[in-house]
């Protein structure tokens, strides 16, 4: 594998500095208190000032750009992958809390009209304060099977009116806008789906609660009620044409083809954190010739192998996307493979620590709680198996 070039190395150095100074301490604090860092935290203000976690004076230049449109708003898949892995190494929760359009941004880039991109993404160039975007798909009765969402969208004159409930919306409470998925008719299944950009403060769009979680507490996970929320027609993501062409649901799924490898890469970062803790312990505390050391070394080798394969899968899926090649299968491979093996890695590290690993001031204890969500968010392992089986086995959609 080719290592990072000097520009990538520079970016990594800055990420590591931020990780030590901000991300890890913020994550530990959020874990202790149960509350995500406040929206006006110094790190978020810094991100706003410099246009992202990593300053634009370091790292790969604009020739690394992987998308189209305004370069300052362009999603750079490989750069994003590195940032995802390294920031999650320090704390995935805080990494998810960083300002930016988030999953909503991926949806915008997949499906929005040029005017919508300009309108909703332009605020992220604001250097005076941090901005967030979000996406709301999951509902109390519709998680993995997103085709079953029940939030209703109905026309009323020129406007759309949204009614329903959403949950598991990352950064939703602090977001400027949320991409909300709804249906014009549940009986139409995927063909009935519409996505709307709902701006914060819109009457009827009400925060119900910030969830309390076992781990990954560094970002807020919000639930919303939509009580006759009136949305102007210009906020229909992609415009009517997108849905006339029956591309609405596919647009949603395309979003995941971009984000699943990133999600999996976060897992690699978390696994690396566990691996490093175990490596350090074995180096310093295990007798050189002891059988315990030998067993640990073998487990460490397996951990490294699994993490490297997971990373390769993430890189490959994103590399395909950058080649403008369909990567739905490979994105699912990455998402199917990485979370369970990262869980195994963290669990193996916990074994290496033994009883010393269970106490709250040992980071491995927190990682063990943090890591489980990886196999649930962005499509569970079971969903990924369905996706892979549909691709390779012709598994019908109704199974």
């Amino acid at each position: 594998m080719t290592g990072l070039d000097p520009a990538g190395r520079e970016m990594l150095d800055e990420l590591r500095d931020l990780g030590r100074r901000y991300i890890r301490p913020m994550g530990l604090e959020a874990d202790r208190t149960g509350d995500p860092p406040p929206a006006d935290h110094e790190l978020y203000r810094r991100c706003a000032r410099q246009g992202g976690l990593v300053s634009r004076t370091v790292g790969p230049g604009e020739d690394e750009s992987g998308g189209d449109g305004d370069a300052s708003l362009t999603w750079r898949p490989l750069r994003a992958l590195l940032i995802a892995e390294e920031s999650a190494y320090w704390d995935r929760g805080v990494a998810l809390s960083l300002p930016g359009p988030g999953l909503g941004g991926a949806a915008l880039r997949s499906a929005a009209t040029p005017a919508q991109r300009e309108r909703f993404l332009a605020p992220f160039a604001d250097q005076t304060r941090a901005h967030w975007g979000a996406m709301a798909m999951t509902e109390p009765g519709a998680g993995s099977d997103v085709a079953r969402i029940r939030t209703r969208a109905r026309r009323d004159g020129d406007e759309w009116v949204l009614t329903g409930q959403k949950m598991f919306c990352s950064n939703g409470a602090r977001a400027d806008w949320v991409v909300v998925w709804a249906t014009v008719d549940p009986d139409l299944g995927r063909d009935g789906h519409r996505a709307f950009v709902v701006e914060q403060g819109t009457p009827g769009f009400e925060l119900l609660r910030i969830e309390h979680k076992m781990g990954s507490r560094g970002y807020e996970t919000a639930s919303f009620a939509l009580d006759d929320v009136r949305v102007p027609p210009d906020n229909l993501l992609g415009g009517e044409a997108l849905y006339t062409a029956r591309r609405g649901f596919k647009a949603a799924m395309a979003t995941y083809n971009l984000t699943r490898p990133i999600h999996a890469a976060q897992g690699v970062g978390m696994g690396r954190a566990a691996l490093d803790l175990a490596l350090d312990l074995v180096r310093t505390d295990f007798p050189a010739q002891g059988s315990r050391r030998r067993r640990a070394l073998e487990r460490l080798a397996e951990m490294r192998r699994k993490l490297q394969v997971a990373r390769l899968m993430c890189l490959h899926a994103v590399w395909l996307a950058r080649q403008r090649t369909d990567n739905a299968l490979e994105a699912s491979y990455a998402k199917l493979y990485a979370p369970p093996v990262v869980y195994e890695v963290v669990s193996a590290a916990l074994d290496i620590f033994g009883e010393a690993g269970v106490v709250r001031d040992n980071l491995i204890e927190k990682l063990y709680r943090d890591v489980k969500i990886l196999d649930i968010g962005e499509g569970t392992q079971q969903v990924q198996r369905l996706v892979v089986a549909r691709h390779l086995l012709g598994l019908p959609r109704d199974q």
Binding site: M1, T2, G3, L4, D5, G8, R9, L12, P60, E64, L78, L82, E86, R272, L279, V282, R283, R294, L297, E298, L300, A301, E302, R304, R305, Q308, V309, A310, R311, L312, M313, L315, H316, W319, L320, R322, E330, Y333, L336, Y337, Q382, Q384, R385, L386, V388, A389, L392, L393, G394, L395, P396, Q399
Partner: protein, 335 residues
């Protein structure tokens, strides 16, 4: 950073792969049982397969070729591909003239410990008496005193099979390689086995899908029962990951990465696990048919397992991994 792991294949490698795939599908696979019974590949097949690799000096291209051919029939590859697994020994040997004359020597590998005094199985043709012995960072080239003894083995019958007694072997050369040099030698051999394992695993997957999407049980194809579909999805993911790991490790050798032997050994473990799991499922999902020699499922099952036993097997691999895992830097991010 754009292609850090050798995902892209050069145009000439793609052409080679496509030609090899056609040959594997049209010539190797249909005759695999005949080759197994004959104990060798016909001269014409040997010539074509040998010709595919003639001008390949890059590991990355070689693993792509091996994987592709193995998907048709891996049986004769150990015999035909020379120096094949011993390529790392040939390259590492400081005595270039001796190395040039020893491209048909087999590789006997031990991890950190002493190498055994017998090569339990080696290809039976062409006749060979010499062996590279790799343990730690020591490399020896030895020549067996007696004649090779024919043996029947778990798999790879199309390569014949002999054992070599090295107890009274004549030592032709004995070298101390630079630190890490031994792992590089053994890593190249494991990379060879890993590439073949990926091909065997992929062939097992393809054959299993072909059968299980046709055969109907309890009202729908075998593959469409969720328990089976989920298993096959996971197995396909395993093969995909193993392929990426093998190609990445090969690219590391090509780039002169000093940790390439470590990553090749890691890739070997991943590929063997994936191929063994897939080939086992390849029998299981065919039911009783999978146990019959009418299908190639049982042949792949044996091949995958045997690939995990050559060159010191898992014990030697674990020795090597455990001995270096604390020192190998992150391949992408560095220390």
């Amino acid at each position: 950073m754009i292609d850090p792991a050798g995902f892209a294949l050069a145009e000439e490698v793609e052409d080679l792969r496509d030609a090899a795939a056609r040959f594997a599908r049209d010539v190797l696979a249909p005759a695999a049982r005949d080759h197994e019974r004959a104990g060798r590949w016909p001269e014409a097949v040997q010539a074509v397969v040998g010709g595919f690799g003639d001008d390949l000096d890059r590991c990355h291209a070689r693993v792509v070729l091996l994987e592709t051919l193995a998907a048709g029939d891996a049986g004769g590859l150990p015999a035909v591909d020379r120096p094949g697994p011993a390529g790392g020994a040939v390259e590492a040997c400081p005595d270039r003239s001796l190395a040039a004359a020893a491209t048909d020597a087999v590789l006997l590998a031990a991890g950190g410990g002493e190498a055994p005094e017998r090569v339990a199985w080696a290809p039976g043709w062409p006749p060979r008496r010499r062996a590279w012995v790799s343990s730690g960072d020591r490399l020896r080239l030895v020549e067996a005193a007696g004649e090779p003894e024919p043996v029947e083995a778990l798999a790879f019958a199309a390569s014949g099979g002999v054992s070599l007694d090295l107890a009274a072997a004549r030592v032709l050369g004995d070298w101390a390689l630079p630190v890490g040099g031994g792992l590089a030698v053994r890593g190249r051999a494991r990379l060879w086995a890993a590439a073949v394992a990926v091909g065997v695993g992929q062939a097992a997957f393809d054959a299993t899908v072909a059968y299980t999407t046709e055969r109907v049980v309890f009202g729908k194809p075998v593959a469409h029962h969720q328990a089976n579909a989920f298993d096959l999805a996971a197995l396909a993911t395993g093969i995909h990951g193993a392929r990426l790991a093998v190609r990445d490790a090969a690219a590391s050798f090509d780039a002169g990465d000093p940790a390439a032997g470590f990553w090749a050994t890691e890739a070997w473990a991943e590929a063997i696990d994936a191929a063994v799991a897939m080939s086992e499922a390849g029998i299981q999902l065919l039911g009783g048919h999978g146990f019959l020699v009418d299908h190639l499922a049982e042949k792949r099952f044996r091949e995958a397992r045997m690939l995990g036993l050559l060159f010191g097997g898992r014990d030697a691999a674990l020795d090597d991994l455990a001995g270096t895992v604390l020192d190998v830097p992150d391949p992408w991010l560095g220390a």
